[in-house]
Amino acid sequence: MGVTAARRASTTDGFGVLWVAIKREPWVFTLSTLGSALFGALTVADAWVLGWSTNHVVLPAFRDGHIGTGWLLAVVGLFVGVAILRAVGVIARRLGAGVMQYRMQAHYRRAVTRKYLELPLAWHHRHPTGELLSNANSDVEAAWAPIAPLPMAVGTVAMMVIAIVQMFLADLVLACVGLLVFPAVIATNLVYQRFSSPLMTRAQQLRAELSGVAHESFDGALVVKTLGRESEETDRFAVTARELRDVNIRAGRLRAAFDPTLAALPQLGVLVVLAVGVLRVVHGGALAGDVVQVAYLLTIVAFPIRSLGWLLGEFPRSVVGFTRVQAVLDSTGRMPYGEGAAARSASGAAVAVEGVGYTYPGSSGAPLLRQVDFTVAPGRTVALVGATAAGKSTLTTLLARLVDPDHGRITLDGTDLRDFAQGELAGVTALVPQTAFLFDDTVRDNVTLGLQVSDDEVWAALRTAQADGFVAALPDGLDTRLGERGTSLSGGQRQRISLARALIRHPRLLVLDDATSAVDPEVEQRILTALRAGVASSGTTLVVVAYRKATIALADEVVHLENGRILDRGTHVDLLARDASYARLVNAYEQTDETTEGMSA
């Protein structure tokens, strides 16, 4: 939906969004609206009580010089009774509106995250992380923001209707005068909304931009500092901060002009009612109490009319938020699963990659993988070797079926990966990616991910991953909470936790995508030794993306990838002998050694 179209259609669409909420939560809506109507009716009733008291108690008492106790008790009873009922109305309205809003937020947050979990990784890759997060957070919030003023607005409409009827009952002429006030207030409100909503939208955009600049700048603090660019960064931030300031000031000026106008309209209305009222009273057309009542009605109803403005003001953001959320919910594409079960034996899995091709979704570029064929026998170890961007990581995500190939197929124990039932493949395969993701949870839960295992097993997995040492040194050991995205650990430590997570599952196929890149060589050497021993005893099939000869040495076979194709495969020794570019790649260091020695000699 275009921006201009959004503005035109927003009022209707806004009601459309609200209708979704009303259909979903009809009872809460009814309750809060009844509460609001009760509140509105009783606010008007208050004016009626005042008018009644004026005519039946105050004026007769002052005229006659005495008043019966019964009348006074009636005044107390009426005012207090109305007040109590009105309090009930207030609670029902506010609580109802809150409950409805929170429920809708909860419904949609659950629905959106469910969708995220269901949609395939390829879909996730097409959408920026920030966008998906704001779909689940601020967009959901914006979509249901108009619920808060909704019952109040409905109640206000009820109150206005009742007030108008009351005014007509009191005095026809005065009512006509009063009737001029309501449209004037509504019109002023609409004009105000029209002028202020572009400013509000702009301010919202600027706030998002400001936050983006701050995030990026603080994330890049090291670069900013080492290149001495703090002042320039502050300037960059200040440009947006100042624009936000200016937009806010402009919105403020607008408000400064409209607020007193909105306040003055009913006040002027009251003055007119008084002047006209006196004439009516003088000519015997109205009672003094009627004048007081109409004047009072104007005073109390004029302010709540603004809640209609608040409601309409929330609409544009609400419609945009709802449209974005709905786009996620309408996304199709879920990874299809078959019925197949994967054998949970202790032996390694047989893997076959047959004619696999893969192109990054939405890219017009060259395929990342073309005609890739190889097999891994159970319990064997294959190293994927290749230059940066050769397609190694892509191949690992295909092996774990995070994405499906465009061409060809991958089988495990002879079954196409796509034929396994959901969860089956994950039960026997583990992928350790280069960038470790840690959950906002304890070390234990980050390793087990809910798997029912003893602490001894957790420690054993941590030991193989060479993570037992630093975990034991953490303040609460296994119970230490790893902060949001695990920021309290170093990159190498996070990789080791991530590795332990794979190892504890005793997978039949273990795929390591340069999973120890941030670990220093000595520790890496120990990990590899432990891994080699573990793999040998359990018979796990291992596919490992490798740069270093020590890792390659683990492998029974090497697959050399270049530009998405298999250039050659065989043992390390064979490849060294016959594949020149392979030799160049893995021998890079030794060549330098020779050069250096040559130079120093």
């Binding site: 109590i84 909860a106 001495g228 000026r253 007119v272 006196v278 959950f439 060589p521 740069y547």
Partner: protein
């Protein structure tokens, strides 16, 4: 480890006092604004007074109904409404301008200060939290001042003026009104406590919920690889439900509290009518001088009371949030920036290769044990030095001290004989460049990122620099060359490519001391070798310190410093060090060779 001052120890009044000192614009011309606020508040009593005057003098005057009087009174009241309306306009305008200006200044100051904080502080404090301190926290203060603050001033003004006018009419009735609102005022503190606790709980819970909601997005690959969808969903559902409960609970308190204002209003109305009639009839007071108009005017005055009390309660809750936000922003500014730029008085480093000297340098993170002990070494200008050691040995600390990302706890780091703390910041950043392991990129073009440290560099210069480093082919292979956009945090490029950009940046900056901290850890060995050779050429005219796991760098260096347990344990050429049997370097080299040889 130290963290950014949370400001939690600051009292409310103290927070405001300090806040105003940081944003003096907030109080500039405040007295005029307050005066206007008083005038604007008076506008609120115009109508009740007009009602009273009309009833008493227009309708029930000494000579019967007096239409002329009513018209005159009406015109006067209209004038009063116009004047007070103008006052309200001027006040709001001034308030918005002053507060937005003041807060924009506060925002910029706080943002700048974050960058001046030592890096160690930045790594302990979560960056997201720092971002919210310069964005949403400031917004919260701004929203409060211009909406809540304004309403609060107007509300209090309204209540005071209503009280004064009521007291002028009848002090007894004024007392009745205050007595009816008494229970509400008395319970204010109790409800404030409840409300504040409930909303704090909501905020905390929303934080936890957002963190859970982010998992299927940020951790999508892991969730899918381990098929832990239902576990993830269960965690989200639990947090979403808990959030809903907390929100509903807080809303319950708000609604209950809000309803009390109306109750008090009803009570006050009844009290005013009953007591007013009794007073007027002389039952309660000897001199029955109250008129019917005055009694009815009270009903209007009471409604002036109900509104402010209700909004006031809401505002007090917002006020607590705003003060808490203000505290957090002030907390940033109160955290000392350890690395003080000597500015104009500082020394300027000469151009050309720099001599480096560590003089009995000890470094410990605040509250931690030292990670460097009494390290002393000197490097001649123009040497290529490699620093090696295990993870946690302290070699990265040396890089950070060398580039003044931190200052030593004890001892002195000198460049060209000058204490680093005496060097002007602009001179330091021009002469010394650190290429870190994580080459952070901004969401912009590759060219913009490369010239980040030298904005005047042309595309041709960038391409030339790439040629020197042997990266021309790589640059050419990118879809739009140097104009290729790198994406958020540079994520459109691979980790290795990001490091290449960082190297290009350094090449373009032409520093006199180049510090490479694991700068090429993520490129494949062949590419690393290619850059390695180019870097060697680059290093020839300057002093360079390279920190690397890969000992291939050490083999090519003029000199190797071996760090172990925070001390320099060996120093010399690769060939000499390797000959020292059983040494740390020999051990490192053996494990390195084991990896290479397989």
């Amino acid at each position: 480890m130290s963290a950014v001052d949370s400001g939690e120890t600051l009292g409310g009044i103290e927070t405001i006092r300090r806040g105003l000192r940081y944003s003096p614009e907030l109080v500039s011309g405040i007295w005029t604004t307050l005066l206007l606020a008083v005038v604007a508040s008076i506008g609120q009593v115009v109508v009740p007074v007009a009602v009273q005057q009309t009833l008493d003098h227009g309708l029930h005057g000494d000579h019967g109904a007096d239409v002329g009087f009513v018209v005159r009174a009406g015109l006067l009241a209209t004038l009063a409404i116009a004047v007070t309306g103008w006052a309200s306009y001027a006040m709001t305008r001034r308030l918005f301008t002053a507060s937005e200006r003041g807060l924009a200044t506060l925002r910029e100051k706080a943002f700048r200060h974050v960058h001046d904080l030592p890096l160690l502080t930045q790594s302990t404090e979560r960056r997201g939290a720092l971002v919210s301190r310069v964005t949403s926290d400031v917004d919260q203060i701004s929203q409060f001042i211009v909406y809540g603050g304004l309403l609060f001033v107007v509300s209090v003004g309204q209540m005071l003026i209503a009280t004064v006018v009521m007291a002028v009419y009848s002090w007894q009735l004024a007392l009745v009104v205050w007595l009816c609102f008494g229970p509400l005022f008395a319970s204010l503190r109790y409800f404030q406590g409840k409300l504040s606790a409930a909303y704090t709980q909501v905020r905390r819970q929303v934080g936890a919920m957002l963190s859970a909601v982010s998992e299927p997005v940020v951790g999508a690959a892991v969730v899918k690889a381990y098929a832990v969808e239902s576990r993830t969903q269960a965690r989200i559902d639990a947090e979403v439900a808990a959030t809903q409960v907390a929100q509903t609970r807080a809303q319950g308190f708000t609604a209950t509290f809000f309803s009390l204002g109306g109750l008090s209003g009803g009570l006050a109305n009844a009290g005013v009518i009953v007591i007013g009639v009794l007073l007027g009839l002389g039952y309660l007071h000897s001199g029955g001088d109250l008129t019917s108009g005055e009694v009815l005017a009270f009903a209007f005055l009471v409604s002036l009371f109900v509104g402010p009390v209700q909004t006031g309660s809401q505002i007090l809750t917002d006020a607590q949030n705003a003060v808490a936000s203000w505290r957090r922003v002030i907390g940033i500014l109160d955290t000392p920036a350890d690395l003080v730029d000597p500015g104009e008085d500082g020394e300027v480093l000469p151009r050309g290769p720099l001599a480096v000297e560590f003089d009995q340098v000890t470094f410990a993170y605040p509250g931690g044990t030292p990670v460097l002990h009494d390290v002393t070494f000197a490097l001649a200008p123009g040497v290529r030095v490699s620093v090696v050691g295990e993870t946690g040995s302290g070699k990265s600390t040396i890089a950070k001290l060398l580039t003044r990302l931190m200052d030593p706890t004890e001892g002195v780091v000198r460049l060209d004989g000058v204490d680093l703390r005496r060097v002007r910041n602009d001179s330091l950043r021009q002469s010394v460049v650190l290429v870190p392991q994580e080459g952070f990129l901004f969401d912009d073009t590759l060219a913009a990122n490369v010239r980040y440290g030298r904005p005047d560099a042309t595309d041709t210069e960038i391409e030339y620099a790439a040629g020197v480093l042997g990266l021309a082919d790589w640059l050419a292979s990118l879809p739009l060359g140097v104009q290729t956009r790198v994406g958020q945090r540079g994520e459109s490029l691979s980790a290795g490519e990001r490091q290449l950009v960082a190297l290009l940046r350094a090449q373009l900056d032409d520093p006199d001391l180049l510090v490479l901290d694991e700068a090429t850890s993520a490129v494949d060995p062949a590419l690393e070798m290619r850059i390695g050779r180019a870097l060697e050429r680059l290093m020839s005219d300057r002093t360079s310190v390279t920190i690397a796991h890969r000992l291939s760098t050490a083999e090519a260096a003029d000199e190797v410093l071996v760090v172990d347990g925070g001390r320099i344990v060996q120093r010399g050429r690769h060939t000499e060090l390797i000959a020292e049997e059983g040494s740390v370097y020999a051990r490192l080299h053996a494990s390195w060779m084991a990896q290479q040889g397989g």
